[in-house]
């Protein structure tokens, strides 16, 4: 039914384009004049007809108009407006370079988008952040952090300080698709959740999509975090970097082939271990404690129609000492080809490889006692995406994706007194194919629609052994039926497929306000098995199988969008409701690591999340920033847990408020502040104690989960950025950033739990555990020349 409807809508658009006479296309790339970086979301408007379009993620635009004379107006907040007179009697290419407006250079920090994008765009439940903004915000230990910054947006929360990842509208951390130049990243943090893996010097833009997810995105049910890397300066060589409390950073950018190409290489490394080395005694000198990441990207423009990109990321956390070692990290490689087929058809072809792995061990294979363990997930994919600029009113996107998964849950051996115990688990294979088509259509001046359909097909593939498990009715581990069924190489073990309809609408209410609505269904075939409060680097990504059905979510959202003062203020009020199916929970005493029958420890339930989000942003003037408030509820219902009734999830925070402010005091000095306030997270407390073996043991009489809530969380951070008066190497610049995290020194609870007193195991006590117990000041020095 939905497909027919879609085809009718598409047909309508096509007819509109065919009946028009003598239409020509003007298209091209829009770049930043200073460094040649493609500009995303620049508004291109034909003054005479009011027809307009915005540049895509590569800075490309295409506008088809009846023959005639036009004034094309290119606008982008923070850049000088450009007007070009054109005589459109044939298709033509018009590449534009825009210059950052010096007049408002310091004023514009929050957004460099189309000025009225908030109201006009079809996008809802979507936030974009520029690195420029993120850099100005106070950061923990002065380390500019993309993931922590997006936690200040409406609908985004976290289990607590120091935990990996983020939660979007009631989704867990594994339900966000984190893309780095279109390759998925499986773990977004260094050192659990203290620092994100993205080097701020190499990132161009960040977009978070929480709802109204367009058809080209799929694979996770809650959100998309789309991180785009810088392309590298095509105008001149540039070296930038900094020395922070934790990391030292260095970035090198250089053009080649007369500006047709450029590259960027950026590296970061923590250096506490190097500083500490001279002070450590002999026994500790081989202690390893560092984390680093390396990001590189190269692009080359061949002729008028083709651009090639290759980018890569490699990050690692390394800990160890003596014969013990533990390390983990992501590696991604992306190759892309942008091709303009005809003036109206644009293609981006991406292939990527992404790997997340960890290694951990003690001793060597030849030792009498040793333990060696590694685990990895590899995905490789090819993904063609097409945009057809049919008419200014219809912009059709279509394409597909093929992903191959190779998961090695555990490759492990334990050696005990020379006896080998092989703990290796079978590798798992699967593939995922998706096809999508969507259209963004303008109907009259006031209504625009985006509708599309994504079809996804997942196949669990051999070789492999599949076990059946009994139904868990009592919440206890289910034993496998042995010996299981064995499948040969390439055999199809299980197939799942899903139609995922996507729909968004924007109804203009006035020149500065609109009403938006959206519905989307999303499916997820890859699951992170994690039963801890914060996800750990050891958690294993597991593929859907005969026993693990795909996760699925349906979300509706409705919002009112309003701009004031010539788009100087943006406001939105959104409500959402999300239903989630096949959510994974765990039996009591579950063993998620090194367990070949881990599927017997899983139980499945459903989730629901709903909320109201308020977002007020000030874009212009000396003071910029935003207020974000979310009122929400996130619950789960899983048989055998909490008496089969709904219970709040570990990251349920009914109230969540963030205030972010940045103030340019003088040309050289800017100040910034963050304030956050959030409800305490749920906790489970016992109702009784009983004595056994001279221990006091806890007992929850009604066996509820998350039956209490810990104290509220609030925190203030401040930062000041002072630009140096002296020019660095004549032309360069440098700045000092002074920051303080948790300024009023509050011990915010991460959790409250009960335990037995260490000295007297009959005495019970309650413990408040804080990750950050005090104010954390830091100084960072950044340079660029």
């Amino acid at each position: 039914m939905k497909i027919y409807w879609l085809l009718i809508m598409l047909g309508w658009g096509a007819i509109g384009s065919l009946t028009a006479q003598d239409r020509y296309t003007v298209n091209g790339y829009i770049k930043d004049a200073a460094n040649g970086e493609g500009l995303i979301g620049v508004s291109v408007l034909a003054k005479e007809t009011g027809a307009g379009i915005a540049t895509n993620a590569y800075g490309f635009y295409s506008l088809t108009l009846p023959a005639g004379s036009y004034s094309l107006v290119y606008t982008y907040v923070g850049y000088d407006r450009i007007t070009r007179e054109i005589e459109l009697n044939a298709d033509q290419r018009l590449n534009i370079e825009m210059t950052e407006s010096s007049r408002v250079l310091e004023e514009v920090t929050v957004s460099t988008r189309q000025e009225d994008e908030n109201v006009r765009s079809i996008e809802m439940s979507t936030n974009r952040m520029e690195m420029k903004t993120i850099r100005k915000m106070p950061a923990l230990l002065g380390e500019v952090d993309l993931v922590k910054s997006i936690q200040l947006l409406p609908g985004v929360s976290t289990v607590g300080e120091g935990s990996t990842g983020f939660n979007v509208r009631g989704g867990d951390v594994s339900q966000n698709l984190i893309l780095l130049d279109e390759a998925p990243v499986y773990n977004s943090s260094h050192l659990l959740g203290f620092f994100s893996i993205f080097n701020p010097d190499a990132v161009k833009e960040v977009k978070l999509v929480k709802g109204g997810i367009p058809a080209q995105y799929g694979g996770r049910i809650s959100s998309i975090l789309d991180v785009r890397m810088k392309e590298g300066n095509t105008k001149k060589r540039e070296i930038s970097g900094g020395i922070g409390t934790i990391f030292s950073r260095l970035t090198y950018e250089q053009p080649f082939a007369a500006g047709k190409g450029s590259f960027i290489v950026a590296g970061r490394r923590s250096y506490i271990d190097i500083l500490a080395k001279p002070f450590l005694n002999k026994d500790l000198r081989d202690t390893k404690f560092n984390y680093y990441d390396l990001t590189a990207k190269v692009n080359y423009r061949l002729g008028d129609r083709d651009t090639f990109f290759a980018s890569g990321y490699f990050g690692r956390d390394v800990f160890g000492g003596g014969d013990f070692g533990f390390e983990w990290g992501n590696a991604t490689a992306t190759a892309r080809w942008n091709h303009i087929f005809s003036n109206r058809l644009f293609m981006n072809l991406t292939t990527y490889y992404s790997n997340y792995d960890y290694h951990l061990g003690s001793g060597k294979e030849t030792d009498p006692d040793a333990f060696l363990w590694n685990s990895k997930i590899i995905s490789s994919s090819v993904k063609p995406d097409f945009t057809l600029y049919l008419t200014p009113e219809n912009q059709i996107t279509f394409g597909g994706q093929y992903i191959h998964y190779h998961a090695k849950p555990a490759n492990a051996v334990a050696i005990s007194e020379g006896e080998r115990i092989d703990l290796t688990q079978e590798a798992k294979f699967a593939d995922e194919t998706a096809l999508y088509i969507g259209n963004e259509q303008k109907i009259g001046d006031l209504l625009s629609l985006q509708y599309g359909l994504r079809y996804s097909l997942f196949r669990s593939l051999g070789p492999g052994t599949v076990y059946d498990f009994g139904e868990s009715e009592t919440g206890e581990r289910q034993q496998p039926v042995l010996p299981g069924t064995t499948y040969g190489k390439g055999a199809v073990i299980k197939v799942y497929d899903n139609f995922e309809p996507r729909f968004s609408a924007n109804l203009g209410l006035s020149a500065s306000s609109s009403l938006k609505a959206s519905y989307n269904r999303t499916t997820q075939y890859l699951h992170l098995l994690s039963n801890t409060a914060a996800s750990s680097p050891l958690d294993v990504w597991t593929l859907s199988s005969r026993n693990i059905r795909p996760e699925r979510a349906d979300q509706v959202a409705l919002g009112w969008f309003r701009n004031w003062r010539n788009n100087g203020y943006e406001f939105s009020l959104e409500g959402y409701y999300k239903w989630m199916e096949n959510q994974i929970d765990y039996v009591q005493g579950s063993e998620l690591l090194l367990n070949p029958f881990v599927e017997g420890d899983l139980i499945f339930g459903k989730g629901r999340a709903y909320g109201l989000e308020v977002f007020l942003k000030k874009n212009a003037g000396k003071l910029t920033g935003w207020l974000s408030y979310t009122l929400s509820r996130t619950e789960r219902k899983v048989a055998t847990i909490n008496g089969d009734d709904w219970f709040p999830t570990r990251f349920d925070k009914p109230h969540n408020l963030s205030l972010v402010g940045m103030y340019d005091l003088t040309k050289r000095l800017s100040l910034s502040a963050n304030f956050v306030f959030a409800s305490g997270t749920p906790a489970t407390f016992p109702t009784n104690r009983f004595e056994f073996n001279d221990w006091s043991l806890p007992y929850i009489y009604d066996n509820t989960r998350n039956n209490n809530r810990i104290g509220a969380y609030h925190r203030l951070d401040l930062a000041a950025t002072l630009k140096s008066r002296k020019k660095l190497f004549k032309t360069g610049e440098s700045e000092w950033v002074f920051s303080a995290y948790n300024v009023y020194n509050r011990r915010n609870p991460f959790s409250v739990f009960v335990r037995i007193n260490e000295e007297n195991p009959l005495k019970t006590e309650a413990i408040r555990y804080s990750v950050m117990g005090s104010i954390v000041p830091a100084i960072t020095w950044n340079f660029k020349f």
Binding site: S416, P596, N688, F692, W695, S751, R755, I756, I767
Partner: protein, 304 residues
Amino acid sequence: MKKINSSLIVALVAAVTLLLTGCEDVIDLKTATGPESLVVDGWITNQPGAQKIRLTRSTSYFNNSPAPAALEAEVRVADDLGNTYHFLDAEGKGDYRWIPANPDSVMGSVGRKYTLHIQYDGEVYTAENEMRRVPEIDSLVYTAETLPFKPDKGPKSGYIAEFYARDFPGTGDCYWIKPLRDGALYKSNPVYISIAYDAAYGAESATDGLIFIQPLRQSLTIGELFEDGDRVGVELLSITPETFHFLKQIRTEASNGGLLAVPSSNIPTNLKHAGGKRALGFFGVSAVSRLEGTVDAQTARPEQ
């Protein structure tokens, strides 16, 4: 000290992380209190002499006065050969004892199944358990070790004590390893519970019939090194897989906070109730192996 327990490694990662500033404070917490239940604390062994089953009642969680005794209960244990053993609370303190006429008499024997019957406050409770086989402990071995820093407790240079024993062939043998010092149990806080499933940590890993893996062997050495001349030892108790899960859950809940805490859930019980009232606690049955020795610098293995 080489340790290869995965949960220990997770804890180590967390510790590394919290080098930053993580901190714990004891706070006052008000919690709701549920109705009172009968609590059974009984563990029958194959050691000679009296056996004890303690009966108390549950209280509110933060009530730190001793648990009230459950008095005037009828307590007996029957085995699958038709023998019945009566347990009596002679002192009126809730400590129900079976006292043999001959102090060297042994109640438990390997291979027998035991059923506990309790009649208390108008309700009947039962529990079943089995005395499984336990291997002999082959030896105690000491290895010299120097820590890289001066610890809070114990010497900087000392000895790691470990015991050697081999799991029986056949899966599903479980053991509780209790460390001894100067002839008595020590470090009894439940966070230190050391239990084995075959020769390792769980049913998941195929370690049937092997020598206990190193971290289990070294679980006698907890938090501090031994010194030359220290008397150390180990008790190895056979337990059923059900008992293994009971003890494992106690260990999990004993300190379950912080970044890597798992959702709290109740500690299981093997007590069944015929009426409407639940009982808490556990009826354990174990055969025991024991070995003691003295740390000797002369015969200790050199530091690696």
